[in-house]
Amino acid sequence: MSALVEIRGVTKTYRRGGEKVEVLHGVDLDIPRGDFVALMGPSGSGKTTLLNLIGGLDTPTSGSIAVDGRRIDQLGSGELSRWRAENVGFVFQSYNLLPVLSAQKNVELPLLLTHLSAAERRRHATLALRLVGLEDRARHKPKELSGGQEQRVAIARALVSDPTLLVCDEPTGDLDRATADAILTLLQMLNRDHGKTLVMVTHDPKAAEYARRRLHLDKGTLAPQEDA
């Protein structure tokens, strides 16, 4: 598999209360296309920071990040926004759906940034909801859905623009075991059957078992890799 994500010598430094804190120390990482990587590590190890850098939500202090051959660390704010819209789907621990919009409208949100017509947006959103098994809940608002269903809607939203990369931050952190397993099975299916490249941050070893590879971060440094 060719490397979709190439990370070289990435450091990330935050300023907290006048003090500089280096969260990542010269991380090197290749994530091949079609991979499903679980990023693990204790709190404060830098796994969410690394995920944010891969997803283009933040920029590294030094080093380079290339996704599909494009140096995203060199993009300006506007270009990075456009790149995220076209290439990355995000799934968060707390779902982060807009409470005032129905499931359908939440899923359509990323498509507002495309040139699709209203009818085409609706059709794409319906397909995405069907893929996650929630077509019949399209008109429901987030508060009318269970946690698992909300996360499925979030996954549909992440998928709807057909991104190359899915970035998931503790996607099962707020769910019970059975629901978490269902969500992870869904993510696994997206990776296996639809060829999506997934990077998932988790502290749950059982969740990590669904990934093809598990990477461990400790104090901002990647430990030697192990395959699933």
Binding site: L57, D58, S81, F90, N96, V100, L109, L113
Partner: protein, 387 residues
């Protein structure tokens, strides 16, 4: 257009709060519509004044009469191209509360002086040839249900007839109107033919209340005014001549500076709205920081998020302002009917709509910009982490 549902959803996230805010904006713009209509009505005399018209009254008091004979001398002043005159009748119709201006005029001269008034040609001719003729403003005709051809019994508080009777009778031969709604209030008068009036009155024969001059060059208004007044200097009937607008403004200010009053009230109202809606918008955006961060995560640019927040403020003001102004427009005809024509017609003109639009735009920017800039500066990772 595709963002409209998103803007609406954001705006009506907390329905009760938004509806209450919307109502306060609506009331503010309703007040703007109504008070501006009153201001326009008060200013209508000055606003519709013709820069090429001068007004000559007695030097020391507007109620002092002047000899009609002044007319010939005024006509000879260089720059004066037409002269008319009018006298105050002091009318009451049927009862004390039905008061309206009645002016004794020379028909052709007076109507030539006010081309903004409209009257049918045959009615104008009838007014000129009928010594007991009178023409009345359309709103007065509507108010009292008069018909052309009927007798118009009017009591004068000032002028008895030669037999001492204060009750006069005229023949209604025409109806005055104006195409411009701002001028229409100036036609709330009855004009009577001075030929009959001057002959039939007991006192004040050969006198009139004021002269109106048309001049060729409005730039020479001051010089011509001075020339007219110089002709009668040191005579028993000295004059004071001034541009019509100046006279109208001075006359309106005897009642009060309506413009200043309206401006002050509206400033207070809109300052309160600014604070109220500004606070509501800021609170609404504070509550939605994580949601705005999600939009940015999905690929909405800083500019798009800024525009969404500004659009919410704009929509709030457009909805509230539009509804308020529309209610004012719908309400004014009822108010006009209720005043029974005792007050100049109240209406919301293009100027008021433009003012409302400008105020709404400025308010939208003032209340939308601070939260919009906050949304623009939002760092996704901090906002998602609740920092």
């Amino acid at each position: 257009m595709k963002y409209v549902p998103l803007v609406l959803a954001g705006l009506f996230r907390r329905k009760t709060r938004t509806v209450l805010t919307l109502l306060s904006v609506l009331v503010a713009f309703l007040l703007l519509g109504l008070l501006q209509a009153v201001k326009v009505a008060f200013d209508s005399g000055a606003d519709s004044a013709d820069a090429k018209r001068l007004l000559t009254t007695a030097r020391y008091s507007i109620i002092e009469p002047l000899p009609i004979a002044h007319l010939r001398q005024i006509e000879r002043v260089r720059g004066v191209v037409g002269v008319a005159y009018a006298d105050w009748f002091g009318a009451r119709y049927q009862n004390e509360s039905n008061a309206f201006p009645v002016f004794a005029v020379e028909p052709a001269r007076y109507l030539d002086m006010y081309p903004e008034f409209t009257i049918a040609a045959e009615q104008r001719a009838a007014f000129a040839r009928t010594r007991t003729g009178a023409v009345a403003g359309q709103r007065l005709v509507d108010r009292f249900g008069w018909k052309i051809g009927q007798k118009l019994p009017i009591m004068s508080e000032i002028h008895p007839k030669t037999d001492g009777d204060m009750n006069w009778e005229f023949d209604l031969v025409g109806i005055l109107d104006a195409d411009d709604p701002a001028v229409r209030g100036n036609t709330d008068v009855v004009l009577i033919n001075v030929a009959y009036f001057d002959e039939a009155r007991l006192t004040g024969k050969g006198k009139t209340g004021w002269f109106i001059e048309r001049i060729a060059d409005s730039g020479r208004a001051r010089a011509i005014s001075a020339d007219i007044d110089a002709r009668f200097a040191n005579s028993p009937d000295e004059t004071k001549t001034q541009p019509e607008k100046e006279f109208a403004v001075g006359f309106a200010k005897q009642i009060g500076d309506m413009g200043l009053l309206v401006t002050r009230i509206l400033t207070a109202v809109f300052f309160t709205i600014l604070i109220l809606t500004g606070n509501t918008m800021a609170q609404s955006i504070r509550e939605r920081v994580p949601e705005l961060a999600v939009l940015k995560t999905l690929g909405f640019s800083d500019g798009q998020v800024t525009a969404l927040v500004l659009a919410e403020a704009g929509l709030l003001l457009a909805l509230g302002g539009g509804l308020g102004m529309t209610i004012a427009v719908l309400f004014l005809p009822f108010l006009n009917a209720a005043t029974g024509g005792r007050f100049p017609p109240l209406f919301v003109g293009l100027d008021t709509w433009l003012l409302a639009g400008t105020v709404a735009g400025a308010l939208a920017l003032a209340i939308g910009l601070p939260p919009a800039l906050r949304a623009r500066r939002l760092r996704i990772v901090d906002a998602l982490a609740g920092r």
